[in-house]
């Protein structure tokens, strides 16, 4: 009797979640590779969060440590709040990428490296003396050394491409391997390639072949004994897409313009990480969007003020250094009481700082960064998809109260992506806009008694000719006035107008416990890791609540009362304690700051550790 001998069947393990990071040289196409993987897992129905991390240099010297670019995707069959603290699978295209990213790989994690890029010169560029592939420093990981360059060239040898063009496809070889590893189809990436390179079918073919070769390599070589399956997440029913914060903001403003029935004007000057909003909106000419790439940040905001004066929904987009330049003009918008939305996509500072890294240290600048008493509503987005809703809310407030409004996002939200349930256009709230047309007893500063808004009387309207300006005005008439009592009245009125918005925003309802030992108060992009940590720590029986502030000025009316219901208050921020300072000043509360200023978002574990420290 004989039995045939067969190789043991390779296992397909069903797991709940995984974190994968692609890293390589900034010319290796890691952002594209990561985005493609993201799209594919999103289409499959996983919840996800991404973290693109790239250098400020467009092309730092190839193969060096500063030139390393990475893209991390966390995908799961349950809710995802962060891009993940640690990485399950790391694809490193060269020694520099390995050196920069290895610390984040979990023990026993999957490590795929491009063996062809570990020659002596490559090691030298990464400032390594000994190859990590040979010194046992990688023993704790499941290391797969793959000749990505050679294998890609072999797969493409019949296409007649030069070596350089072939090598540029090796990221798709790696992508193909990951599709096999996580049992994902290649069809959405194939469709993307066919569209992206429709004018050069040879490149479509080359990248497809490279991807298929990577997939087949895993299939054939049995390098991997296990592949993984992560079932779709149970998301709320609806139609979904993937969206980044900047795209969501851009679309939110188009939606706001549509709902307000007035054209959208963007005045902007390119600045990282805000430029994508300008790119996005400049493509929406079919929506009548007017985009003006101004000569500088000041012209960007002042042109928007002009557009607002003329009756448009006017916005300007920038980052911290640009905000500093716009300061005086924002004061003008406050004085002339015109609607305007200023988006600050925050980055590390001061000065040029860390252009491509995230931070949330412009809160006090947004609140107070102008001469004299110049209060302004400030609202912050908490996730990439939330940027859409924040754009609508900022527009609503600006148009209803005739005020400039600052929107705070940050580099992490701007470039990070998540699945987003697409709203029905009919369900979006209307934003009523009423231009003044009645010349009878018209006064430019006669106020609506409820909102304190002055009328929006746009040029071209017969009988409403009037003058506006940055000089102090007499209330009601708008005439220049140096009267001391009138000045105090106007200062207080402008403040009261912003304060009145508190009546028009929802009370906060803490997530988690409505009262207890600890309240976490936070804002902006820290929402993800805090939510994840809250779930984990409450699971251990701790009584914790979490208030994530969307409206930072004015603050929700019940915040002070909510704070009283907890024994301690923790404020995690990617700054030196700016919200803490506001909460302490406003509520005389002992807000405990937890501050990380590393250009990187909080990890879930960091928040958990802090909670444990405070409650033990």
């Amino acid at each position: 009797m004989s039995t045939t001998i067969e190789a043991p069947k390779r296992k397909r393990e069903v797991i709940d979640q995984a974190v994968i990071r692609f890293c390589g040289d900034s010319g290796d196409g890691m952002q594209i590779t990561g985005s493609q993987f993201t799209n594919t897992v999103a289409l499959y129905g996983n919840d996800l969060a991404t973290f693109p991390d790239y250098p400020a240099e467009i092309r730092a010297p190839a193969g060096t440590l500063p030139g390393v670019s990475g893209f991390q995707v966390h995908f799961s069959s349950s809710d995802v709040y962060t891009p993940g603290d640690a990485v399950d699978a790391l694809v490193a295209m060269n020694p520099a990428a390995l050196a920069v990213n290895l610390a984040d790989l979990k023990k026993n994690g999957i490590l795929i490296v491009n063996l062809d890029n570990f020659k002596e010169t490559d090691l030298r560029k990464a400032q390594l003396k000994v190859s990590p592939l040979e010194d046992h420093s990688l023993d704790a990981y499941r290391l797969f050394t793959v000749e990505l360059t050679r294998l890609t060239r072999a797969a493409l040898k019949d296409l007649g491409l030069d070596a350089k063009s072939m090598d540029r496809c090796k990221n798709f070889f790696a992508l193909g391997m990951c599709y096999w590893l996580y049992n994902r189809p290649m069809d959405s990436t194939t469709r993307w390639l066919e569209d992206k390179f429709k004018k050069t079918p040879q490149l479509v073919q080359a990248n497809k072949l490279a991807m298929q070769a990577g997939y087949s390599y895993c299939e054939a070589t049995e390098a991997f004994q296990v592949s993984y399956e992560i079932p779709p997440a149970k998301l709320a029913p609806g139609v979904y897409r993937n969206i980044s914060g900047n795209t969501a903001l851009a679309m939110g403003f188009v939606a706001a313009s549509n709902k307000a029935g007035i054209p959208l004007f963007l005045g902007s000057y390119p600045i990282t990480p805000a430029s994508d909003i300008l790119h996005e909106l400049s493509g929406y000419k079919d929506f009548g969007v007017m985009t003006f790439q101004a000569e500088d940040e000041i012209a960007a905001v002042t042109s928007a003020i002009g557009a607002s004066y003329a009756g448009a929904l006017a916005i300007t987009t920038t980052s911290g250094p640009g905000m500093a330049l716009k300061t005086e003009a924002i004061g003008l918008a406050i004085a002339v009481e015109l609607p305007l939305v200023i988006c600050d996509i925050q980055r590390g500072g001061p000065s040029t700082g860390l252009p491509t890294k995230t931070e949330q240290a412009d809160l006090l600048q947004a609140m107070f960064g102008r001469n004299s008493e110049a209060p302004i509503p400030v609202i912050a987005a908490s996730s990439p998809g939330d940027c859409f809703w924040v754009a609508l809310e900022a527009s609503r407030i600006a148009l209803k109260y005739m005020v400039p409004v600052i929107v705070l996002s940050d580099g992490y939200l701007a470039n990070g992506a998540e699945p987003w349930r697409i709203p029905n256009v009919e369900d979006l709230p209307e934003i009523p806009v009423l231009f003044e047309t009645n010349p009878e007893d018209f006064h430019p500063y006669r106020r609506n008694s409820e909102t304190l808004a002055r009328p929006w009387a746009i040029p071209g309207t017969p009988g409403l000719e009037h003058r506006l300006g940055g000089l102090e005005k007499q209330d009601v008439t708008g005439n220049i006035s140096y009267d001391p009592i009138n000045h105090e009245h106007m200062v207080r009125t402008r403040a009261a107008k912003v304060e009145a918005i508190a009546q028009d925003i929802p009370d906060v309802v803490p997530e988690g416990d409505p009262s207890g030992d600890l309240l976490i108060v936070a804002w902006g992009s820290t929402h993800g890791p805090i939510t994840a940590a809250l779930h984990a720590e409450r699971g251990k029986g701790r009584r914790i609540g979490h208030v994530h502030l969307r409206h930072l000025n004015p603050l929700p009316r019940n915040l002070g009362e909510v704070i009283q219901r907890y024994k301690k208050v923790l404020v995690p921020e990617m700054n030196m304690g700016q919200l803490s300072m506001i909460l302490r000043a406003k509520y005389l509360v002992d807000a405990i700051g937890y501050n990380k200023i590393q250009g990187k978002p909080f990890k879930q574990s960091e928040i958990e550790d802090k909670i444990q420290e405070l409650l033990s």
């Binding site: 500088d296 004066y309 005086e328 003008l332 040029p459 009037h466």
Partner: protein, 343 residues
């Protein structure tokens, strides 16, 4: 057939009830009066006018004009006005500014507005001094000038505003003088008729901090000797007895005495539509040369350059014609989407 009735206005219709607060004797009064009477004659409905200003004495102008007016911040009027014009190309938008506002703090906006050819009319009141801040030198002050901030004289080379405007590819460049009322009105009318960006330097006296700023040009006896009035299609003649002229000599200009075999036919005939920048530059720089007169009038009037706001509107129209008007629902669904069904 119906004809639209043109509004009939007088100068008074453009006056406001606000007390004019320039120093008595300031050149700005004359400019205000000229602008009010020219506006009344343009046949444009009053509500279509917008006057945008920056900061400085001149920038109080909007408060005294019964039109839409916006007194903005220092130097930024061209940018604010650009936003207005892009949003509402149908409006007649004028920028009133000064030498400090336009050429110092607002220099960047000035040159970019001109190169884009935004359909704005800029009236730059040049008194070669900072008046509102009480007497510091400006970017057009003569080198060596003693002012509050330069007790030993300035060391700055001044701008020639006309040259700067030409260098910024301005499609309309002109110069007039506060006290030459008729010339000023004629220049303003030509300015109003220009479609693209117009830059008009108005030489203006500050009788408090720089009295006699343009005395050489405005003194009755001196003016005909020191000024040449540019008129399209006419030879460049000046002098009390109209006996001097400007002639081309190689690639340069020279001043010639008429008579002695030199006739008007030998003189340079002004062409405000001359396609070469060099031509307008030669005229603009005459004033800096000994023996040459200062040109006033229209130096350049190019009418074949599209306006910025029209290009923007055309692009929107073209894209809408090609793609149809934007559908928000479709926009939100661009790219890959997937449906999660109720379970």
């Amino acid at each position: 057939m119906t004809t639209a009735t043109l509004p009939v206005y007088t100068r008074k219709d453009f006056q406001t009830d606000q007390e004019v607060r320039w120093c008595p004797g300031c050149g700005d009064y004359a400019i205000l009066s000229a602008v009010q009477s020219v506006f009344a004659d343009l046949g444009i409905p009053r509500e279509k006018f917008v006057i945008v200003s920056g900061i400085g004495c001149s920038s109080r102008f909007p408060y005294y004009m019964n039109t839409y007016g916006f007194h903005t911040i220092h130097g930024r009027a061209p940018a604010v006005a650009t936003g207005i014009k892009i949003t509402r190309p149908d409006l007649d938008v004028w920028v009133v500014t000064g030498d400090g506002d336009s050429l110092s703090i607002g220099g960047n906006h000035t040159i970019h507005m001109l190169r884009r050819n935004v359909g704005l009319k800029v009236l730059m009141f040049n008194n070669r001094i900072y008046g509102l801040t009480k007497g510091q030198y400006s970017p057009t002050s003569e080198i060596g000038k003693k002012t509050k901030s330069t007790p030993f004289g300035t060391t700055d080379r001044p701008f020639n505003p006309i040259s700067l405007a030409i260098g910024s590819e301005a499609t309309f460049v002109a110069r007039s003088v506060d006290v030459f009322q008729q010339h000023l009105k004629d220049t303003l009318k030509k300015t109003a008729a220009h479609k693209g960006a117009a830059y008009v330097e108005i030489l203006q006296n500050c009788n408090i901090f720089n009295d006699g700023a343009w005395e050489d040009l405005t003194e009755k006896d001196a003016r005909s000797e020191h000024i040449v009035q540019l008129e399209h299609g006419k030879p460049l003649i000046f002098g009390k007895n109209r006996d001097k002229g400007i002639r081309m000599n190689g690639f340069d200009l020279e001043v010639v005495q008429l008579g002695d075999g030199v006739t008007e036919k030998d003189l340079l005939v002004h062409d405000e539509k001359h396609p070469r920048a060099a031509y307008a530059f030669l005229l603009a720089h005459m004033e800096q040369r000994p023996g040459f007169p200062t040109p006033i009038g229209v130096l350049r009037a190019w009418d074949n350059v599209p306006r910025y706001e029209d290009l923007i509107a055309d692009q929107i129209r073209d894209v809408q014609a090609k793609r149809g008007k934007g559908d928000l629902s479709k926009l939100l669904r661009t790219g890959d989407t997937w449906e999660v069904r109720a379970q």
